[in-house]
Symmetry: C2
Subunit: 456 residues, 2 copies
Amino acid sequence: MNQKQLLRGAADTVAANVPLADFNTADAVEFLNTLPLPRAADTLAAVPLPRAVKLLEAPELQRAGQLVAALPPPRAAALLGLMADDRATDIVHELDDSHRARLIPLLAPEARHSIQLLLGYPPDTAGALMTTEFVGVPADWSVAQTLQHIREVERSRETVYAIYVLDPSSGQLQQVVTLRRLITGAPDASILSVAQLNPPVTVDPLLDQEEVARLIRRHDLLAIPVVDAQRRMLGIVTVDDILDALIDESTEDVHKFGGVEALDRPYMQIGFFEMLRKRAGWLSVLFLGEMLTASAMQHYEQELARAVVLTLFIPLIMSSGGNSGSQATSLLIRSLALRELRLRDWWKVALRELPTGIVLGGILGVLAIIRISVWQLGGLHDYGEHWGLLALTIGAALVGIVTFGSLSGSMLPFALKRLGFDPASASAPFVATLVDVTGLVIYFSIAALILRGTLL
Amino acid sequence: MNQKQLLRGAADTVAANVPLADFNTADAVEFLNTLPLPRAADTLAAVPLPRAVKLLEAPELQRAGQLVAALPPPRAAALLGLMADDRATDIVHELDDSHRARLIPLLAPEARHSIQLLLGYPPDTAGALMTTEFVGVPADWSVAQTLQHIREVERSRETVYAIYVLDPSSGQLQQVVTLRRLITGAPDASILSVAQLNPPVTVDPLLDQEEVARLIRRHDLLAIPVVDAQRRMLGIVTVDDILDALIDESTEDVHKFGGVEALDRPYMQIGFFEMLRKRAGWLSVLFLGEMLTASAMQHYEQELARAVVLTLFIPLIMSSGGNSGSQATSLLIRSLALRELRLRDWWKVALRELPTGIVLGGILGVLAIIRISVWQLGGLHDYGEHWGLLALTIGAALVGIVTFGSLSGSMLPFALKRLGFDPASASAPFVATLVDVTGLVIYFSIAALILRGTLL
């Protein structure tokens, strides 16, 4: 551990005359991101070890896995061993099997052990996010002893602002002490004298990162302890890892809502064929679903032939259903994610969306009737002798379709959650497709009702 | 300040026999959120002052403004005065003018001054997020002096983990010292001996919160100092405020992408008419835009009358354009937000989207040709003698429309950014509307080209 401390401490004091010496870490990372991969790897190989560690630990560094893979293996292993173990694990995750098999045996035993432990947890869980480098002290220590210990290990720990007090015999987590309270304690007093009164909030290593973020926010913590079934500490998840996880999560949510499989790397770094794969899948599924509109239209082909004027408004009517559905879905996705609503509240939402949809549809219906009347009476277009009934049909169809869109758009996230999926998997294109087919049926049914004996 | 310290310290030790005494803060907040407003306000009026402060400071408390407005004004003013000033300002922001005018004069001078200062900054800026309760010490202090000062003020500061070293005469920010480094310093040494080597990263009070989040993450900070043009400190933004801001921001982004004005309160708390307003605006604008599809269709009415079969595929073709557009928009919105791409990179993106769109359109085109052939040859539907040319028309139109959708969907966020708007204002319904009209024109132009002399 001593070498690790020394090297980390030296990171700020790199000599001049080495690559990137004039940059601070954040700027150096930005510069590395712009270099072609081989040159970036050469640069990373040439900077002093502690500096390279800082660069690899920066969350904004792109292609970290590829960079490590391109380094000479002993150098790569040295870097991984010196890095914070959670970040090192992220990088090992990105390596392919052959690189992984070559690097892991070269790691120091301690680093190898903690990386292999962290590799075992599924991605996006507390276990995968956590670091094992926390400060844990036995409950029979004094304030002064603890402070002295922190001074010694400070350089090798991700955070020292939360100190975990463990049962000396069982190793179970007893209490949490914050550094700000610790420094106010009397030196000879027991560490427990400055501990928080509430029992510590802990998480299971398999808890989803979104849930971990919620707990950290809810209890206003800088780090949350991850414990096993016996309340022995496995590690901690720190607030900066949660910040990164939240940013990734919100990228993923926007991608999913747009109907793409989430990308885990920047746009320009995704290969052409990978990009196609991420998009073609959903696009084809939606296309196959949307083919039902062609079948529905075929069903009404006779009506269409008799009243071509009906087709003029199909895009307008269908898109309004999709738009109102995508509005409702976006509202409910977030309400469910933020736990403002539970699964059992679905009927309350349905009861609100029903009148909301009727009024929204009514507004659009009136707009449509005005549009048709103005064009007809202003001589801009002739919709035929039954234009009044046609306008009524369009207006009524809009009420029906927007109501259906709002209702199904709001119920979709509940349905997905009920089926065990992430409500955020509901995408705007998916809602639109769902609404389109039914929209056509609503339109033609209302047309048949109003226009029978005149146009149809 | 002394009373503030004492009261805050007492918050953990509420006596039994008072409301909520058995709950920890997070659970009590959840309970309050479920109560009707008058009962929640009564409860908040009955708990001890320090407990009420903790509850009001919790980011998950809903209706905080309404609760404070419902309290007796002297109690409300006492609570606001004891709260962290940034959170108190948030609440004052939520009050209407009459409540605000009644409460502000009742505040203690110090609290009134800092709340009025913070109220002056536009929402979602560093100034609006910051707290003025930070630890600042003159540069001529020693390590021991600083530690003693922190012990004294610890209870009244939002964070003591970053200590700001100020020039004794000008008050300018010189250096930042972290508490973890401070406790490793020799007691008699100057505070500057444990300061960071790099000049501190600072922000302007008018900087957008998304940018503040990016800097905090980039430099791995727990708090970032906000300074004026003379580098005098105005306050700090802490990582927990950024966490809240990021969660709000990602809710806003999903709402906007769904085509709704962002809601600032939970779904069930938005009144019926406010909800209508938030949705009807965009829905009507999109509807007016989409009316152009009816105009486009009118233009092709003769072709439609001659070849009704063409109408069967209009919904299928148009939705594919919208879907590919919404995919591209979701990808680029996040890439721009994360600064993976700059405005000047638009042509690189266009050069990638062009072939991507062609291949994606080709895949859908082949699926459509297969669908038409199977239905025709399998006797499921008769598309007429020219069904082969019809299939070719649909396939070619899909290539054109999906390419156009991908291109315009990806360029829209750049265009919005160029015009000074947030790229995240691009919504899936907006892209779909944009693509729909052009999609119809592409479809009918290709049909005219391929089917002239046969169907048309």
